[in-house]
């Protein structure tokens, strides 16, 4: 039986952790004028959260106490203690905290400079701290040409394997306007990852749901997959994976179970409606299985764990599912409990093997 379960020696790749600066002043040295003075005097100015969470935004035990850095995610020592060492993490993807809202600002030039400053701050201040850290670069999606330049600027940096975008954009992300981003990522072998950020209805974002504004965070958080369904449909239908066949897309915090009915419906519609989008050569679900990856957190928790196993069998995306903890956010997931109940083979795929494949990493 011992060989049928994972142990605490099982390696883990965590695809979503949120390190942060303590103050926006940390980025000043990476900005030129006039942006430096602007940030110094007025902060970043990107749109923030719209909804109030009664559970708070972060784990209550994640506030550093032994350092001048007081924000959760700002202390390397605490990240090391509570996450990296505790769970035998071999690689952790640093996805920053809050910066995704830059893609929902009305301006183009300033957000692009902020993205570049963030990336330089990340490279200089976080990646050297621990060889287990990998980083996601930020870009401002509303300026695809500048975003593409930034992707190419960091193209050779193998500690930054992916580009992070907000799951919310001012229009569907698959449309031609955004293709320079996909083109550069494809050329540089970078993954395009989406993460909730810059809340819906903030800045240039559309309203949070097709029926308007829900009242509560409970509703907003439950409905996060709405945005991913819209973006995934757009990327597939607009032919992004035909144009850039090697491109890999990662949906972070999207949830997974909704994919079952979604892919059935998508394939069925394609069979009848294909002639309007003849550049598609395969079933939508085939593109998704070949090009799209998903992280686990916040993991769905049915009353019967076996229901989840059944869903995974239906999905057929065993090789596309990657563990993520979302540390230090309030809905953090423990890697062992997340995968409990699955076969050892599937647990190992979720915890590290699938991520090793996606990020082209080996674990000794």
């Amino acid at each position: 039986m011992e060989n049928d379960v994972i142990t605490k020696k099982t390696p883990i790749i965590d695809c979503d952790i949120h390190q942060t600066y303590t103050s926006h002043h940390e980025l000043l040295k990476y900005l030129d004028e006039p942006y430096k003075t602007r940030v110094k005097e007025s902060g970043f100015g990107y749109p923030g959260g719209l909804y109030y969470s009664v559970a708070g935004g972060v784990r209550k035990d994640s506030f550093p106490t032994d350092t001048e850095k007081r924000l959760p995610g700002s202390s390397y020592d605490l990240i090391k203690k509570q996450l990296l060492d505790k769970y035998n993490i071999k690689y952790a993807l640093l996805n920053g905290g809050g910066m995704l809202g830059i893609s929902l600002m009305t301006e183009q030039a300033f957000p692009s400079r902020l993205a570049k400053a963030y990336n330089d701050w990340l490279i200089e201040n976080w990646l050297p701290l621990d060889k287990r850290f990998l980083g996601s670069m930020m870009v401002a999606a509303q300026d695809p040409e500048e975003a593409a330049k930034e992707i190419r600027r960091l193209g050779d940096n193998d500690r930054i394997p992916q580009v992070l975008l907000s799951s919310i954009t001012s229009m569907p992300i698959g449309q031609k306007f955004f293709h320079p981003i996909f083109e550069a990522a494809h050329e540089c072998n970078k993954i395009i990852a989406f993460h909730p950020g810059g809340n819906q209805s903030s800045g240039t974002a559309p309203v949070p749901t097709p029926v308007g504004f829900p009242q509560y965070y409970l509703e907003w958080h439950t409905l996060l997959p709405n945005a991913y369904m819209s973006q995934l449909t757009s990327v597939v239908v607009e032919g992004v994976f035909e144009k850039f066949p090697g491109l890999k897309v990662l949906l972070i915090e999207s949830g997974i179970s909704w994919l079952v009915g979604y892919m059935w419906r998508f394939d069925k519609n394609y069979k009848s409606l294909r002639k309007q989008t003849p550049w598609l050569k395969k079933l939508p679900s085939d593109y998704i299985k070949e090009n799209v990856f998903f992280t686990t957190q916040p993991f769905e928790e049915p009353f019967k764990q076996s229901d989840l196993t059944a869903v995974y069998e239906m999905l057929g995306i065993e090789s596309n599912l990657l563990f993520s903890s979302d540390y230090p956010h309030w809905d953090f997931d423990d890697p062992y409990l997340t995968t409990k109940g699955f076969s050892k083979e599937l647990q190992e795929k979720i915890l590290f093997k699938n991520a090793c494949g996606l990020y082209q990493k080996e674990i000794m």
């Binding site: 559970a55 784990r59 209550k60």
Partner: protein
């Protein structure tokens, strides 16, 4: 199981979480009005340490979507996912099933000392 002397009754502040260990296992001790309650320092959901959580009032509704806040802090909220548990029974606010309960330990007060029964 045996009784362990944990703390003097007067030293235990009302409605504050007192964390202590017996044989290296962490527990939470709470004085709610004059009741003494003890449970393992572990959320049944993902094993977060409840001692980092908050004691809060129970929020209910009067039936017209208006919020009613209880007078005493009878609920402990998990520091990670915000699950709420009734301190007196250990039951979660959303479900009474055993798998969602905090694990309580017996307590008693003798000669102003608080005892907890544990392994």
């Amino acid at each position: 199981m045996k009784w362990y002397n944990i703390i003097n009754f007067d030293e235990l502040e009302k409605e504050k979480i007192h964390r202590f260990h017996i044989n290296d296992k962490p527990y939470c001790l709470i004085r709610l009005v004059d009741e003494i309650l003890c449970f393992m320092d572990m959320c049944p959901h993902q094993k977060a340490e409840m001692s980092y959580g908050k004691l809060q009032s129970l929020i209910t509704t009067n039936g017209d979507n208006e919020l009613v806040v209880s007078d005493c802090k009878e609920v402990i909220t998990c520091p990670w996912h915000g699950w709420e548990f009734k301190v007196r029974t250990g039951e979660s606010v959303f479900c009474s099933k055993k798998k969602y309960k905090l694990i309580h330990l017996p307590t008693k007060v003798e000669k102003n000392n608080i005892f907890v029964k544990a392994n």
